[in-house]
Amino acid sequence: MGEKDVRSGRLGIGVDIGSTATKVAVVGADGSLVHAELMPTGFSSVDAAERARSALMKRDCPFSSGRVVATGYGRVAVPYADKVVTEITCHGRGAARLFGSEGTVIDIGGQDTKVIRLRGGRVFKFVMNDKCAAGTGRFLEIMADRLGVGHDELAALARAGEPTQITSMCTVFAESEVISLVGRGEPRANIARGVIESVVGRVATLAATAGGTAPYYLTGGLCDNEYVVELLGERLGAPVATCPEARYAGALGAALMALELE
C-alpha cells in the first residue's frame, strides 16, 4: 500500500463503525480485499474513527490522502471520510462481492439486524429490526453474560442442549426468563440452546417479512458462529453461506464504493 496508489485512486478504504466493533477494509483497484482489521468501538465513535486511522497509518496506508467511505452507526463521526453511506447499502455491496449479486443478505449486528435483498448486485429492499435488541448480537452477549460463559462457549454449550423455549422477545424480559430457568435448575446447555434459537427465530421472521429468498448469506459478527449458521439454515429451509470476510462486509462495501469516488 504505497501513498501513490492511494492518491491515484487505486485503493478504496472503508471504515464501518458499528455499535460493538469497528471494521476497516482496504481494496485494490480490482476490488479485491487487500487488508481487513477489526477493533472494539468502545464508548466513543470519534475515538474509534481515530484508532481506525492510526491502525491503517501503521500499515502504510496514508488515510488522509485516500478515498474513504464511512458507514455504520458511527458513520458521521469520521471526519476524514469523503463520503458517508448507510450500512445497508454497504453490506449489500460487500455481500454482493463476496457471495453473488442475487440473494438475501442477513446481517446480525451488535445493535440491529438487517435483512437485505439483492437484485443485480444492488439493494432493492431491506428490513431492520425495531428499536430493540431482540434478534441481535447484543441479545446473545447479554444472555452469555447471564449464563457466565463466553460467546464461543455459548454456541458449543447450545449444541449439546435440548430445545428449550425462551418466549420473551424483549431482552430485558428474556433475561428474567433465563434467570427463572436457572432458578428452576434447567441445565445451562438447554438455556443456551433456547437463547440461540430465540435469536435465530427472530431473524428468520425478519427474513420472511422482507420476502427474502434463497440463496441466503450471513454477514456481521456472528458469521464465525457455525451453530448459528446451521440453525438459521434449518429455520429458513435453505443453506446459509458465509465466510470469515463476511464480518467485514460493511467495510468492504464501503471500500468498494470509495474506489468509485472521483
Partner: protein
C-alpha cells in the same frame, strides 16, 4: 376577525412552531371578544357544520411528546402517541385551544381514541360522532348522515342558534375553495424539481388546523401558491433536481414533520406528496355545494375519506397509486405511529399495491420521541440510497 394580512404561512418547521405559539396567545383574546371555539381531531369532522354555527374549528391532535409522561398517568403506555399527546395536553391544561374550546368534537375512528374521549369528557365536554365501520352498506351512509344531523343539533343547543341551509352552503363553498387552494399548492410539487420542500408543504398543511379564520387562511394559501409559482418560474426551485421524489402515506404526520419529513429531505429526498389526513388523501374530495340537501352532501363528502379505520378500504390503494403517478414518485414511505393498528395492519396491502406498481416502498413505525432517531435516519437514508 378578518385580520387577513396577519396570517403568514410557515416556511420552516421553526416558523411553524412559532406560529402555533402565536396562535395560542391569540386564542384568549378571541374568546374574550366573544368568539366561539370548537375543538376537533379527525378529518372526518364535518367542519362546515362548525363554520355554519359561526364557530371556529381548531385541530386538537397532539403532536408533541412533552405531555406524554403526564398522559401516561392515566393512559396505557403502549398507545398511539397522537392519542396520548392529545389527552396529555387536556389533562395537563397545557393546550390553550383545548382549554378555550366550548366543545370538543370527537369521533369513533379507532378504539384508542374512542375510549380516550370518555376520559377527555371528564375534563371538557366532548361530543362523539359515531363513524361507521365502512361505507359500502346503505345503513352506514344513512347512519353517518344522522350523526352529522346530531352534531348540528348539538351545536344549535350549545349556542342557542339555528344553523341554516344557507349558512351550510356558504360554508361548503368556502371550504371547497380552501380545498382547491390546497390542491393548487400540491400541483406545484408535480414539477421536477418540485417548487417547495416537503417540510414547508407539511407545515403549511398543518398550520391550517390552528387558524381561526377560514377565509383568511384560504386567502393566505392562494397568495402563497402564487408566490411559490412565481418564484419557481423566475428564481427556480430551492430543491435540487436530483432529489428523490417521495410520497408519504399512512398515519397523520403532523407530529413527525421534523422527525420523518426533515430526515427524508436531509438525506437526498423531497416529499412531493402528502397522502395523509391533512393532505391530499382528504383534500381531493369536494362537497357538492349545489346539492338540494346540503347537509347530506356534506355528510357524503366526509365519508369518502379513505382512512384505515374503514373496512374495506380498497379505494385508498387506488388513490395512492394515482398520486404516485401524478407526482412521478421514486418511492413511497409509509409512516405508522406506534400502536396504530389499523394503519399498521393495512400497510401489508399498501406495500403489495405499491410494489406491484413497481414503486419501492418502506414502512417506518415511530412515535414522537427522539429515542429512535438514529435508527430512523439510517433506514430512511438507506431507502433513499436504493432509489
Amino acid at each position: 376577525m378578518s385580520d387577513v394580512a396577519a396570517i403568514e404561512l410557515p416556511r420552516t418547521f421553526e416558523e411553524f412552531n412559532e406560529q402555533r405559539r402565536q396562535s395560542f396567545l391569540k386564542v384568549k383574546d378571541f374568546k374574550q371578544a366573544g368568539g366561539r371555539l370548537v375543538g376537533y381531531l379527525c378529518s372526518y369532522t364535518p367542519l362546515e357544520v362548525i363554520d355554519a354555527a359561526g364557530a371556529s374549528g381548531v385541530g386538537l391532535c397532539g403532536t408533541s411528546d412533552e405531555v406524554i409522561p403526564v398522559a401516561e398517568e392515566v393512559l396505557p403506555a403502549n398507545l398511539c402517541p397522537l392519542i396520548k399527546s392529545t389527552y396529555g395536553f387536556a389533562y395537563s391544561q397545557k393546550c390553550p385551544f383545548t382549554h378555550f374550546s366550548d366543545l370538543i368534537v370527537g369521533e369513533t375512528t379507532c378504539d384508542g381514541k374512542k375510549k380516550m374521549y370518555e376520559l377527555l369528557n371528564e375534563l371538557k365536554p366532548a361530543y362523539v360522532l359515531h363513524l361507521p365501520q365502512g361505507r359500502s352498506r346503505a345503513h352506514e351512509r344513512e347512519g353517518w348522515y344522522q350523526e352529522v344531523v346530531g352534531l348540528k343539533r348539538a351545536l344549535e343547543r350549545l349556542y342557542g342558534i339555528q344553523i341554516t341551509d344557507d349558512a351550510l352552503r356558504e360554508a361548503a363553498r368556502l371550504r371547497n375553495r380552501l380545498r382547491r387552494a390546497i390542491l393548487a399548492l400540491y400541483d406545484l410539487q408535480r414539477s421536477v424539481p418540485p417548487a417547495m420542500s416537503g417540510v414547508e408543504l407539511m407545515s403549511t398543511m398543518f398550520a391550517g388546523t390552528f387558524n381561526f379564520d377560514v377565509r383568511a387562511y384560504v386567502e393566505s394559501l392562494e397568495r402563497l401558491c402564487e408566490q411559490r409559482r412565481a418564484e419557481a418560474a423566475t428564481a427556480g426551485s430551492p430543491i435540487s433536481a436530483g432529489a428523490k421524489r417521495i410520497l408519504i402515506t399512512g398515519c397523520p404526520v403532523g407530529g413527525v414533520i421534523n422527525k420523518v419529513g426533515a430526515t427524508i429531505e436531509r438525506n437526498g429526498g423531497v416529499v412531493v406528496c402528502e397522502d395523509d389526513c391533512s393532505g391530499e388523501r382528504t383534500n381531493r374530495f369536494m362537497v357538492d355545494e349545489d346539492a338540494p340537501d346540503i347537509l347530506r352532501a356534506i355528510a357524503d363528502r366526509y365519508l369518502q375519506i379513505n382512512c384505515s379505520v374503514m373496512t374495506p378500504n380498497d379505494d385508498r390503494f387506488a388513490a395512492t397509486l394515482e398520486m404516485a403517478e401524478k407526482y412521478q414518485v421514486d418511492g413511497v414511505v409509509e409512516c405508522v405511529l406506534t400502536a396504530c393498528h389499523t394503519f399498521n395492519v393495512e400497510s401489508a396491502r399498501v406495500e403489495r399495491a405499491v410494489e406491484g406498481a413497481g414503486i419501492p416502498y418502506m414502512k417506518v413505525e415511530t412515535d414522537y420521541s427522539a429515542g429512535d432517531m438514529g435508527q430512523l435516519e439510517t433506514r430512511i437514508a438507506a431507502f433513499i440510497e436504493t432509489l
